[in-house]
Structure formats: C-alpha cells, structure tokens
Symmetry: C2
Subunit: 319 residues, 2 copies
C-alpha cells in the first residue's frame, strides 16, 4: 500500500525539535522569539521549468530548500522551520528517499526543521513547493528599500558558474565534461549564506538574493530605494571555473545569469572592516564591487572605463 | 508582456495591512503576539486531482484558502497571513482576476492577508499551493492527542453535502440539477469555523477538521489520544439537502465523505452550555453526537442500537 500516510511516515517523519509542538497535527506550532517578527517566503519548483526531468533527487531536495533559505538570508533572518509539499506522478521510493536525504541534510545544517507539508499524486510532472519561516528583529531586517547613496555594493560568493552549468546542460554550449563538473555544484547545490546574513542585520542596509541575475536583482534594490548604482565589472567575483572562457559569455553569465543564491547587499563605507571580518569568520568570500549613488539607473563600467550595456537583463518565468 | 512581475502586480498586489513589513521584499515579515506560537499549515491543490478542469476560478480561489483556514481552525489558531503559489499552463487574465477575487474575498473575511507567493508557468495543469500562518497560545492549542475518556464528541455545521456534490459532478449519481444546486456550495465554497474555533481554545480538548471523512478523521484523534469512541449515527448533523436520498448513500456521505472542512472536537461534559452559547453567538450549528471512551476503537451505532460497519473509511490521495 502506498497511501499518503505511508509516504509521509516512511520518508518525511523525523523527530520534531524541542520547543516545537503539533508536528503531525493540523498545524505545526513554531515558537518565535520575543521582539522578533516571523519572516516567511515560498517557492515553487516545476519539473521541466526549474529543473530537468531526471535531475539527481538528492540535489533537488537540497536545492528546493536552498532557494528558500536564500530568501531568509536576504532579510538577515534566522531559519526556524520549513514546510514541503510534493506533487508526484507516481511513487518511487528510491527517488523519495534520495530527495528526503538531500532536503533533511540541508535542513539540519541550517537549523531549519521540516515541520509539515502535503503530498499528492499529480497527473503530470513533479511540483515541489517549499515554505520557509524564520525570525528577525523587524528594525534590523535587511530590506530592498534601505539602500542609501554612498553605500558600498557587496556580493557574497562568486558569480556565473550556475549559468554556465545551465547552458551546458541545455546544450547551448559545446559539451565540456571537465567544465561541467566544475560549475555543476553551483547550479545544483547552492549554499546561500544564511548564517553570515544574520550577522549583517544591523550592519548592512539593503540586501536581496541573486536569483534572476545580478543586474536585474540589483535593479530591484535601486527601484525600491529610489537611487542608482555604479558597478565595477572588473571588481566582480567571477567564479574561478570560468577563467579562459569567451569574455562575452562570461560577462552575460556574471551580470545576467540567475540561480546564484548569493547575496547582493549595500552597506555604509564605515562598515567595510566589520563586513570583511564577519566574512572571514564565516569562511565566506565578500567582495566590494561598486557604490550606490543618488542618480537613478544602473551603470556598469568595464575595462578602461567603457560602459557595459546588457541586452538581456535576466530571467523571467513568464517571458 | 506577460512577465511574472506583471502577473503579480496586476492580480496579487494589494496594500499590506499595518504592522506588516516586507511584502514584496524577499520575505514577508509577520508579527506574532507575545506568548503565542506561530501555527502553520500548507495544502497543495492539483487540477484533475483536487478539482476539475474548468472549475469556477472564483470558487477555486476561495477553496484553496478555505482548506488551509480549516487547519488553523482545527488548532484554535487566529489567522495572521497567507502565501500563495500558482503554477499555470498559460496566462488567462480573466481566470486570474476571478481566482484572485475569490481568494481575496475570503482572506479579507478571515483577516488573513496574502503577503507573498510565487507564480510560474507549468508544462501541464494548474497547481495551487497555499500556506497559512496563524497564532495560538501553545498551552491552549487544540491538539489531536488531547481527547479524554468521558469527553463529548461535537461536530460543527452539517455533513454529507460535499460528498454528494462530488458524486454528482463525477456522474456517479444520476443527474439531478436541483440537488446539485443545493449541495454544490458545500463542495466549492466551504466556510470553516475559524472564529468559533478560537473561542474553543481552552474550552475543548481535541479537535481536527474533517477533510477525509468523519470516521477516518475521528480515528486520527482516537489513535493520537489512545482512546476509543461511541458515535451515535442518528445524532449526526446530516445536511438538510440530503433528506429523501437513499439511506445507504447518505450514510456513506456522512461517515466517509471528505471535503467537509468543519470541525470534529471533543470537550468535557461541563463545557456543554458554554459551547452551545459560543455556537449561538457565532450563528453556527454545533452538534453533540457521541463520547470518548477508554476502550480503543470507533463504534458507530445506528437506529435501534445496531452497529454500523464501514467498508470504505475515507479518502486517500495515493490509494
């Protein structure tokens, strides 16, 4: 018998952390610390749209939570708990066990236990819906609208690898197994900086996670904050695996490539040393690559001070 | 241009309630009152599985939130906010406007504002994922495991109409337009008793919402509480529209019919007058139909004290 109850019991029942009630009840009950607000976000991953049929289920379990943890990181929120809904065309216990393994491993690492969800049979492809809940002191939350003229622009991690991996897997680039091996983890196993991001609360001003491409996502900060930015392309942290590739390809991947799940944030000049020390402590790369200015618009400067114009600003799910 | 941003801006952007921050940011920030826990639940609705292709989109918008509010009611939690993710095969603005209308109308009625979500194009049918968040004092939350021998068993609203509507729409019963008109609102526009349920916190013991059929759902309370129940079939609140139908059909609809989204709860005998007064104040029907006993198992008594045996105990999404 493969009933809904069996599926949940077999693959998605692990002991609830102490302090949590109601797991397995109609609702999970999640404590939120005094003085904090609940921070919450949800993402939907659809087979054939966000991932290929046949994607490694452990990587998919990891990524479906990672993209949501990335939203918590973008607010400087501490992960508290998550919910997972799965719509599956059939019951494949090996697939489910591997998916659950990838999901739980990251949930454990992030201190973000799975406390509820829903499973159902779908007539067609796999659909994964994850909701995360975290907590943050509202006055310290990193908001898109909080950038100020004079702020530095920072990027965590590196840029471009996930986009090159996607192009290789879509056969939009000539097959290159060693390049694929180097860039694939960035696409399939993103690790958003949720712990570092909590340290930024009260230090940085604005932040968001890079999911649709740096230029487009930074544009959201600029629009919400009513300001502009000067970005120094040559200062951007290009993924090392991209060295030697065509420079136009690299530029597109770095500026417009999505699926990064690292942070772009702004912070006052006085916070530079503090941010570098926090990044060091988190064993994380944090790179300063521009500044916020009063004049609206995003200007990107390339080698020799030549402006860079983007044709395709990023990824849109309905374009 | 039908971009993701356009869709959200056009159909799902309404002013955030005061006290909420971050709507439109990476996470919504939701205040939770001191002394309360966050109560959260999520449900996935899949076209062809949970609703028919061509279902009235306004009713679908209503129901996709209602089934989640029902989970909050089952815990005695106060609605705070919700998230909505939609996976759509194409962009139909009339459909989206009607869906959003049904969703927002119920969200407004329940004080449960939509604060975030995700939209994406799916290769196949419509998938709707809703997450609700509420708050409840953890020591007062209605829990499945809290039934005690001697408790009364109570049902809110009436039973059976949604199941008959489903059978009619599936052509499992002979066409009967006037019957369908009478029972269809129960299936398509369920109204869970979220306000009354908050009043039960601290008064009732165990509760859950009837989604898979009374017998099966009450069974979850009994299993979690380690006790049994005697249910008086003739005391159950049968939907008036079912009068005159075949008695075996009515019995199956009342005991095993799903999609009810009313509460089954247990409460001490001393609370009877209080519960009836609360139900009166809420203009809600609350019916006492049995009691919790120490001996395990669910025994249902029909006319003349004849025991009723169920062949099919309820609905399972993977059976």
């Amino acid at each position: 018998m493969n009933t809904e109850f069996d599926l949940i019991a077999r693959h998605f029942s692990r002991p609830a952390p102490s302090g949590f009630l109601g797991v397995g009840d109609d609702c999970a009950l999640v404590p939120v610390a005094p003085g904090h607000h609940l921070a919450t976000s949800t993402d939907l991953l659809v087979e054939g749209r966000h991932f290929f049929a046949g994607t490694d289920p452990a990587a998919l379990g990891h990524k479906s939570l990672a993209v949501n943890l990335s939203d918590l990181a973008a607010m400087g929120a501490q992960p508290l708990a998550c919910l997972l809904s799965l719509s599956l065309p059939d019951v494949d216990h090996d697939w489910l066990a591997a998916f659950a393994g990838g999901f739980y491993a990251l949930a454990g690492e992030a201190g973000c236990p799975l406390v509820g969800g829903d499973t159902t049979r779908s007539p067609s492809g796999i659909v994964i819906s994850v909701t995360v809940m975290g907590q943050v002191r509202p006055q310290l939350a990193l908001r898109r609208a909080a950038a100020r003229a004079g702020d530095d622009i920072w990027i965590t991690g590196t840029l471009g690898a996930a986009d090159i991996a996607l192009r290789l897997l879509q056969n939009k680039l000539p097959a290159d197994p060693s390049l694929l091996a180097a860039v694939r983890p960035a696409l399939e196993r993103p690790l958003p900086p949720w712990a570092f991001a909590q340290q930024l609360a009260g230090v940085a001003h604005a932040a968001l996670d890079i999911s649709d491409g740096l230029a487009q996502d930074l544009g959201h900060i600029l629009a919400a904050s009513g300001c502009g930015a000067e970005l120094d392309y040559n200062a951007l942290p290009v993924a090392p695996a991209l060295r030697g590739l065509d420079s136009q390809l690299v530029q597109a991947a770095v500026l417009a490539g999505g699926d990064v799940y690292q942070l772009c944030f702004t912070a006052p000049v006085q916070a530079r040393q503090r941010i570098l020390a926090l990044a060091d402590a988190a064993a994380l790369q944090a790179t300063r690559a521009g500044r916020i200015v009063a004049e609206p618009g995003l200007r990107i400067w390339g080698a020799g001070g030549v402006p860079i114009t983007l044709r395709n600003a990023g990824f849109d799910h309905f374009s």
